[in-house]
């Protein structure tokens, strides 16, 4: 696949003034609850981790929007991929992402997740996060300031409220595509064998 600057560019812009899509009232209510309370996994993957503490503490208080930190992936809704992903980190990010429970959202910070950014010709990082994980919202910058991150969160909340943030369904439906890409960079044992059971078979209680 072509990567980095060689692939065709598209603009993916969010619009804060978009109208609500049509949903029935049960879905509307559920999405309202989901958007009002967001638990972010406390996992700083790259250089954007330095911008997360100011966002969540007193000065740029993200708790007003209902956003708070969660300790384990089991409890979290949103995982923030905050910057470049080396192959080593990508393995852990994917494992953590698969341990979260649906519905889950991915917020990608910085230009490294869009097209490789500063490390566009590195031998050890990935250039386009969308090939390995579905992403709901990108926030541009190198690194984005807390105000930008908050605007990204507000846009994410709007998308959740509209029902448009459905990357987790995209992951389930296109699992073979994502898995093929992951195996291409991480080797065959990208995840323990018991992980694929989630997406290939249905484990019931």
């Amino acid at each position: 696949m072509t990567e980095g600057f060689l692939q065709e560019q598209r603009t993916l812009e969010g619009d804060l003034n978009s109208e609500n899509s049509h949903q029935n009232s049960v879905d509307f209510l559920m999405n309202w609850f989901r958007k009002r309370s967001i638990f972010v996994l406390a996992y700083g993957t790259g250089c954007g981790a330095i911008e997360m503490p100011p966002t969540f503490t007193s000065r740029y208080d993200a708790e007003r929007l209902g956003i708070r930190g969660a300790a384990t992936p089991r409890q979290a809704d949103v995982i923030i991929v905050s910057g470049y992903c080396s192959y080593k980190t990508l393995r852990r990010i994917i494992r953590t992402y698969e341990q979260m429970s649906n519905p889950k959202y991915v917020l990608a910070l910085g230009s490294c997740t869009v097209n490789g950014g500063m490390y566009w010709d590195s031998y050890n990082t990935i250039k386009k996060l969308e090939d390995y994980m579905p992403v709901d919202m990108y926030v541009n910058g190198c690194m984005p300031r807390p105000e930008s991150i908050l605007e990204g969160f507000i846009q994410l909340q709007k998308d959740i409220g509209n029902g448009k943030a459905s990357s987790w369904q995209k992951y389930e439906e296109n699992y073979e595509f994502y898995r093929k890409n992951q195996e291409a960079v991480l080797g065959e044992k990208v995840a323990p064998s018991y992980e694929a059971d989630w997406y290939l078979y249905d484990g019931g209680l």
């Binding site: 494992r95 323990p192 018991y194 992980e195 059971d197 209680l205």
Partner: protein, 548 residues
């Protein structure tokens, strides 16, 4: 039934079936029947069966005796048959420890009985109180000390427990339930006889009981071997009984706790015997993760543990409640605080017991192919669990029986209104309401919970835990909690309790005895001429003295 032996006209031996004796005899018989269920699984020599029957017969003799001489005969037979029963599996060192302590206890009891006989020339219980009052002050003190020495060795009070823990650990898994549940009750019976027939000791006994239970609880938390943990737990529970016997009106609580302790210890030790039988290992660091392979054992151990902790739905709370209210009535408030403290500390080793065996992860590959324990282990546990649940639902089920015992001993009886409410002079509670409320709430919540929208997926592999993005595998140390309790050594106050041990004291005594016997060897050295000379000198001294 009256037995009389002619020829020695001053000594009368008799048996009497008092209500108290019937109660303890029933405990012995019940335990005997329960333990015989297990004999199917072990290859035992014929001598084992003979000794076991002789042991039970001696226990009946102890309980039904109406005078101290028959009591002592039964006690001696019990000690000696236990020695032979233990000799099948105990190491020589532990066996020596046991027999020295048992002989010391028997000897001191014999001296105490003879002191009592010397004042009134009668061994009967009925004359014991007058005999005691007719003694001088020094003899009273010696008598109490010697009798308590005997009883504390048997019960395993801290300070005299040196033999007990090792003996429980190394004895056969078949015999340990009986050993722990019943033989310690003989010490309790001796203490009850002492307190009701002879003399009443109140506050010092309560203090000794409290110290025992606190120290034993903390020592139990540290253990890695399952049977040692249960041995210390046994000591702690008996400490509760000793404490409540130190209160004047505490007999009801003591009887109830004896009953509960017998049933619970049988349940726990039989459960452990089943697990050791199936896996062949008896330490927490080698077990783990047996929950879904032996689910029935897990549920039965859970019932035992809830009772041991004294939690409301099951029977353990009833006995603890009686103990607490007796102490509250007698205004022993500091003792009550210490007992509640010991009871709260017990939660640690209780959780360690069930976590180390059933929860967590298996520590080696062989544990993954374990099947359920044989049915002959499960049947006695089910019977005992039903008894505990019944006592939880109807805590006053045994109160009429206890009132008969208390009437006979001329103590205050327990009020009785209906089977479900346990009433003491301080407070009351209704066991049926508690357990049915808990059951109803649980079922309602379960129904509501199951019908919620969320789909619950069962992880297929036990390694799928949230482990900070890493993937644990066979080599990762996941059965973390088996060594819980070791961190208590970092607390200063508790560390001073745990660091000290009676081992040094007894080693010191042993060394001094050896030194003394070295000195004696110089006199009695085995050479014939020296012995002859000593005998002649001795005879001269005796003859000279008898002519004075």
């Amino acid at each position: 039934m009256d037995l009389s032996i002619y020829g020695l006209t001053e000594i009368i031996l008799s048996l009497k079936a008092t209500n108290l004796a019937n109660f303890f005899a029933m405990l012995v018989a019940f335990s005997f029947v329960i333990v015989t269920f297990l004999t199917k699984n072990y290859k035992l020599k014929k001598s084992f069966y003979a000794l076991f029957l002789l042991l039970t017969a001696s226990l009946f003799l102890i309980v039904y005796a109406n005078d101290y001489l028959l009591f002592f005969i039964g006690w001696e037979i019990m000690s000696i048959t236990t020695y032979f029963l233990l000799s099948f599996t105990l190491s020589k060192k532990t066996l020596h420890k046991y027999i020295i302590f048992a002989m010391a206890s028997a000897l001191s009891m014999f001296i105490a009985i003879l002191i009592l006989y010397s004042s009134n020339h009668s061994f009967l219980y009925a004359d014991a109180h007058q005999s005691f009052k007719a003694l001088g002050d020094i003899e009273e003190f010696i008598f109490i000390v010697l009798m308590l020495f005997t009883i504390f060795i048997k019960i395993g009070t801290i300070g005299f427990h040196y033999w007990l823990v090792d003996a429980y650990e190394e004895s056969q898994n078949l015999f340990t339930p009986f050993f722990s549940a019943v033989l310690s009750k003989m010490g309790i019976y001796a203490l009850i006889i002492l307190l009701t027939q002879v003399v009443d000791i109140t506050y010092p006994l309560a203090i000794i009981g409290v110290i025992t239970s606190i120290i034993a609880t903390f020592k139990a938390i540290q253990e890695d071997s399952i049977k040692r943990l249960l041995a210390y737990s046994s000591i702690a529970q008996l400490g509760y009984i000793v404490t409540v016997l130190g209160v004047y009106d505490g007999m009801g609580g003591a009887l109830y706790h004896s009953l509960i302790h017998t049933v619970v210890k049988l349940l726990l030790f039989i459960n452990i015997a089943g697990i050791i039988f199936v896996t062949g290992r008896s330490k927490f660091s080698e077990l783990g993760g047996l929950l879904y392979k032996t689910p029935q054992s897990f549920v039965l151990l859970l019932i035992g543990i809830i009772t041991l902790a004294g939690m409301p739905p099951l029977g353990g709370f009833s006995s603890k409640f009686m103990i607490y209210t007796s102490l509250m009535d007698a205004k022993y408030l500091l003792i009550l605080s210490a007992i509640m403290f010991s009871s709260a500390s017990a939660f640690l080793y209780i959780y360690k017991l069930i976590y180390g065996i059933y929860l967590g992860h298996p520590t080696n590959k062989k544990l993954e192919s374990v099947k359920e324990v044989p049915i002959s282990f499960l049947i006695p546990q089910y019977i005992l669990a039903i008894v505990l649940i019944a006592l939880g639902m109807f805590p006053a089920l045994v109160v009429p029986y206890f009132n008969a015992i208390l009437n006979e001993l001329n103590l205050k009886t327990i009020e009785f209104s209906n089977y479900a409410t346990l009433t003491t002079s301080f407070a009351e509670f209704n066991g049926l309401v508690i357990i049915s409320a808990f059951g109803t709430i649980f079922v309602v919540l379960l129904l509501v919970f199951v019908n919620l929208k969320t789909k619950v997926k069962d992880v297929k592999n036990r390694f799928d835990v949230a482990y900070c993005g890493e993937e644990p595998d066979e080599a990762t140390h996941l059965h973390y909690g088996y060594s819980m309790g070791k961190e208590l050594q970092r607390v200063g106050f508790i560390n001073t309790i745990l660091k000290n041990s009676v081992k040094y004291f007894y080693d010191y005594i042993a060394k001094q005895t050896l030194n003394f016997s070295d000195i004696l060897k110089k006199i009695y050295s085995g050479q014939l001429n020296i012995n002859f000379n000593i005998a002649i000198i001795f005879a001269i001294i005796l003859l000279w003295w008898s002519t004075k």
